[in-house]
Symmetry: D2
Subunit: 434 residues, 4 copies
């Protein structure tokens, strides 16, 4: 089992302590068993500490390893922290007011690790070979790597069943993910930008089913569909980029289809108050979106929910039809290259994807009707935020040019995408991909 | 008001009576105020009549203008008809058993008109200039023209507000339709094939709104969306095939978008037991499908519900985004050319559309979730019927290759289309477009 | 076939013409084949005519049987009418502006009948024995009876299959309705109040099925459910008010259940622009609501859509579970007594029902999710309109006291009811049942 | 933070080791970071071990503290365990085949604790005062108490905001739960029976909002509803059992409503492969069902997903309307008494609730339409399993007697309940509450 962050912030120990000046710390407070992560910026001048804790002003003092500081929020609530700091780590207790009962206060333990200084020089390319995987989108799992905006990562994913490029099971089934990658500087309220640079097949088969998900068929076929569900192995021709069912006959004996590699899973850690979420699930954090346009050359925008964003990826598909109607797409392992950027202070309501020719918003909900509302609302927001349209103008553009498709029917939430041709749109106010 | 069929089968009078041999009659029986249409095939040999009434065997006698005949259904129920026949018309009464009460019988009046013989020679092209329009999909409206499989029609439609190419209001708003066209030989259980040959803009403007339909937006924007809904006139550049909002400024001051003419309305008369249905509505008969792929070069397949199919068309759009989210697309008048064919004895569960590159099924229901079930079920049926796949094989093909989109959100029922690239499919067992 | 209103306003002839003073006329204009009904109030002083046409001011002249008058709407559009008046009837033409094209005008034929004066004396009880039935909610069917607010009607309905209390088929299957009843004084914008006084079984059996509607079962049972659907006849014990399946055995051999007679169908004619609507369908006009609380002792409120409201009723059930999951409830004929009232100038968004202990709103839509929105919105409206609550207060009351149930799953639209215990509510601002 | 089960099975140490004979162990295997719980039954005869591991046969040997044993599943896959056993604890490693790759095997660490022997004598009543709370339905949290079928527990819950009966915050907001209670003998495939014996208010106020959840209102009110959401404190009169808003005026100045205490949260741990699930969420395991009939005197049936079931409870409401439309019901702390039973080997598809007069099934899904399918399917299952009906008979009973209501609209999944009057049903084949 991957050690939880609480027990294993050892990763931070390798960074040298900032001799002076402004340091950034990632603070983990245990609120009755629930981790709360904050970004603490501390400036030390002599013994005096000052800074910010997630937007609240901080003042305090340091004496050798002993530190005390107090944050005050806009409502005047003060939290007093007292702890010990050494070698880029801090541990201690915070004394919190009980907002329901002014006579009561509560003490909560915290740990913190200091974010190392940003390396000088150009953005870096990290080669990362995972050794274990996460079966949840999880804010409390120790980061596997810290990267800065502009950096790239080359890594590889295993298939949704936990099987790697050699056919060996490396993790529990259920879309095990690589990560999390800690993106330095990311805070809730920001948007994380993921450039999907390369997705390359790295083995010669994919696994699927001959199934049709229950929500895709009417009652007239439901009885017969219940008999389906057997495994189908597909042969991948990596040279020509083709897939075919291994034992096809009859009408499918010559059936061959071009692959289109994609990441079924891409997500950041869910926000405060949420426990870890199954890697089979989705949300505003992204997740098991199963959106075929999360493909090489495209850009994905996700709303940051935790300090460092904590990016995970996995569940690659050699190919998937809309809706992933067979429950399993062509599940396979993959070599992946991506880079990250940050848009500070800009929050988005739904995941966004951008290709060279289109902008797309993804709505996810418990019904297609609700997912479509989310996708449309997201697209209207994008047109107003980045293209300077009024709501009336965005409505007119939608009316003649929006396209909808339905990427995902196979999860607890379904996905509807709204798409818009960039060639039709006015000049963009903001810088794409950043 | 267009005279109802009951009062005005005069259209049939121009055809010469078949001197002998097999005649086809369209029988309209009034069942307690509800019209029931049947196809009656009668052979006369001397005074003896024999034939079929919608699949039930018929025998009878003719004496001058007086005819009597009896049909017997597979359950042994006999209906006795007695009437007068002259100049291609017949009127009389049918004596029916009461299936709930063996002691009771009921008499129902009928009228009939004789279908003229099929003209010899090649298929014909009909130029048809409409003089009135229908605000309902209606089995009881007298046909405006009788055509045979293979025939083409050149006509023109007015816009959804009833306004023609000169800007004059010719009909009540609400998608008034041209028709119905009686397709000789069509019977319930057949499939009507409509080849959309040409759709040409014939005026320089279209009318729309700056609206967003309620089912497309989330609660966060619903309050602001309620303030939208004002008319927007669009200028159509027929030479270059472009549309732009007439008074656009700000972010839309240079907004121009290529038109893609389409028929919002295309439908046959609904089946027995249904009253006329608003031309704002849809069903298995087609109707106000608002499906952008009902465009020139494509083929539409509709399930025949009444003798002669009774095809209507109208509500053309210069352009429409998916979902017709603005409630009105770019509504305009249009020159239309189409031809018809019949697939005898083949019923389909949902409207089908075929382009040169794709096959598409349209599911229509009260929610996207149900519409998607219908679209998928329709596509599975098509793959099994026409491409020889088993359900398991069709499931595999869907899983890697189905595309979904959402043509229509603006009506009582919404529409979801399932699409499949024909290039991926095995050879077709049946003949496309026929 | 019931003659259409256009041909058969003879019903009005029996009323004596008002010698002078203010007369009310119901005007039917044929707009390109679509009937538009208006209320015309005319005062004659010498040759001078003045009055109102649906809220627009009217002025004109009468010379013997020739009348001319002009109405002007708030936008200044004038319509000129010219016709002949005799014996409580008027026919003629109206000359209308083309709102799309100021150069064009259009002529539309009209007919009208004069509403007789209100009888003096107390409200009356009408005994009405129907001779034919309507298979549509239809504004263009001639009224069977004119009643005034306060009047009562005693009549009888046949079952959904068209079978009467003697077991004889009197109409086409599909919920044939009695009516319409013209409620003098009712205009669009009013609310019609129907007091259901008595519902009495009048035969000893009901017909049903052993079915489960498709939208009620999950995929795990869908295959087996497809095999159901056989007719089940139920014995009705009218003395003890009990029902039991006629040939029950096994677990149901002693199954007996108390009846609760209800009207499945109760509706007014749909508004301008809508064609006749199938009696299997529902809408803001009521219709085939299949709501078990439309039972004796309760009050139903429907939004008036046409002059005279044009009330229909039928499709009585001896008993129905929520959702009418078996597609057919215990379908039977019934003796019915009801009275009507009017609330002038008060429009409601959804059908409302009131029992001695509860108020209920019925939302109807293509999905339960949308139907629930409508029901809740209707209940919030009721609490604000009639109980003087702010939206915040209504929200608090809902949060602790609303009950939802699901009366109807068997139609194209489904129904969700929101209910509220009257004992919890503050004093009512308005007078119940009026 | 509650120590995870992995670190803290110390709870088991207090039980004496069984000297001989059959012991039951709860085995926790770490599968790549994911806990898998199994029930291991071991008989020791001399050095020989034999038994069952979740239905698979086990054989092995013990030498002092060293144990080895092998389980073989029905497909012939063998897992070899090797560990050390002492004082009711066991730790070690299991050697597993790689089902994807016959050449590969994987080693996974396990820990186990021995279930103490069942106490002799009658069922016991446990008084349990919680000291911490869980914000997730969680299979990996150490049990707070082990109980046997028939035992009762008296405990108390805090409100959904984490506030106790004295007004002090004891846990993080978000429905913190008491538990889990380990029910000895429970295994996946069984049904856990919870008799809710008493629910008693233990403070004088409840907290709520004046909100309406987005999915309950139509677009016409959505704009105004967005302005709601302010806290409303309610006064609870414990003597008379009444609630009223603390600062009500206007139409609500005399508004008083009887309380009906209920448990909003009641759930078992989710099954293998699921991470911990937020206590705001629901599933087949129960959870935040917000079902007002989880009230004193009623019985709840939940499907066991993990050894020991691991029952949690919390989020009590003094009162809740259907749907919990205000997002917060009347949230308060509560004294709770319940007892547990087990139905071995009987799995149920949805949560079931039984009152003295009704049986009820709860469907939970992302839309009301899907939730209703689940509820109906569950009710059909109950009628067939426990009342001996065929599907056709169950359909007939549903058609006349099912009631639906909508307990929950405030979560990610919504809830629909199907209800049936027990007085109508035939004699029960099985024993209620057991």
């Amino acid at each position: 089992m991957k050690p939880s962050w609480a027990c294993a912030a050892a990763i931070a120990l390798v960074y040298t302590t900032g001799a002076h000046g402004s340091d950034t710390w990632i603070l983990r407070t245990d609120l009755w068993g629930n981790p709360a992560f904050s970004t603490l910026k501390l400036d030390q001048t002599g013994a005096a500490l000052s800074g910010m804790l997630d937007g609240d002003k901080v003042e305090g003092q340091a004496k050798g390893p002993d530190v005390t500081f107090t944050s005050v929020d806009t409502a005047g609530n003060a939290v007093h922290f007292r702890g010990k700091m050494a070698a880029g780590r801090m541990t201690g207790e915070g004394d919190y007011p009980d907002t329901n009962n002014r006579q009561a206060r509560a003490s909560h333990r915290f740990t913190a690790w200091r974010l190392p200084d940003r390396p000088t020089g150009p953005p870096r390319i990290h080669d990362f070979v995972p050794t274990d995987y996460s079966n949840s989108w999880n804010a409390d799992r120790a980061p596997v790597l810290t990267v800065w905006p502009g950096d790239s990562v080359r890594t590889r994913t295993i298939d949704s069943g936990g099987v790697d490029e050699k056919g060996v099971t490396r993790a529990l089934f259920g879309n095990p993910q690589v990560g999390p990658f800690f993106v330095a500087g990311a805070e809730p309220g920001d948007t994380l930008v993921i450039h999907v640079r390369k997705l390359a097949l790295n083995r010669d088969y994919a696994d699927s089913l001959d199934m049709i998900v229950g929500r895709a068929v009417g009652t007239s076929l439901a009885g017969r569909v219940a008999d389906l569900g057997k495994p189908v192995r597909w042969t991948l021709d990596r040279v020509r980029g083709l897939a075919r069912p291994e034992h096809a006959d009859g009408a499918l004996k010559d059936f061959t289809v071009p692959v289109r590699p994609m990441l079924g899973g891409l997500g950041v850690a869910p926000g405060f108050g949420s426990p870890a979420i199954s890697t089979g699930d989705t949300g505003a954090f992204g997740g098991n979106m199963d959106f075929p346009d999360i493909a090489a050359g495209n850009i994905v925008y996700l709303r940051v929910q935790q300090p460092g964003a904590l990016l995970y990826l996995g569940d690659a598909h050699a190919l998937q039809g809309d809706g992933e109607t067979s429950q399993y797409a062509l599940e396979t392992s993959m070599n992946v290259e991506f880079s990250v950027d940050l848009i500070k202070g800009k929050a988005i309501s739904t995941p966004r994807v951008e290709s060279p020719t289109e902008i797309m918003t993804l709505g996810q909900a418990g019904s297609l009707d609700e997912a479509l509302r989310a996708a449309t609302t997201g697209m209207l927001g994008w047109l107003m935020q980045d293209y300077g349209m009024t709501l009336s103008q965005a409505a007119q553009v939608l009316g003649v040019a929006v396209k909808y498709d339905i990427p995902n029917l196979a999860g607890r939430s379904v996905g509807v995408a709204a798409r818009m041709d960039k060639a039709l749109l006015p000049p963009r106010i903001t810088r794409p991909g950043l």
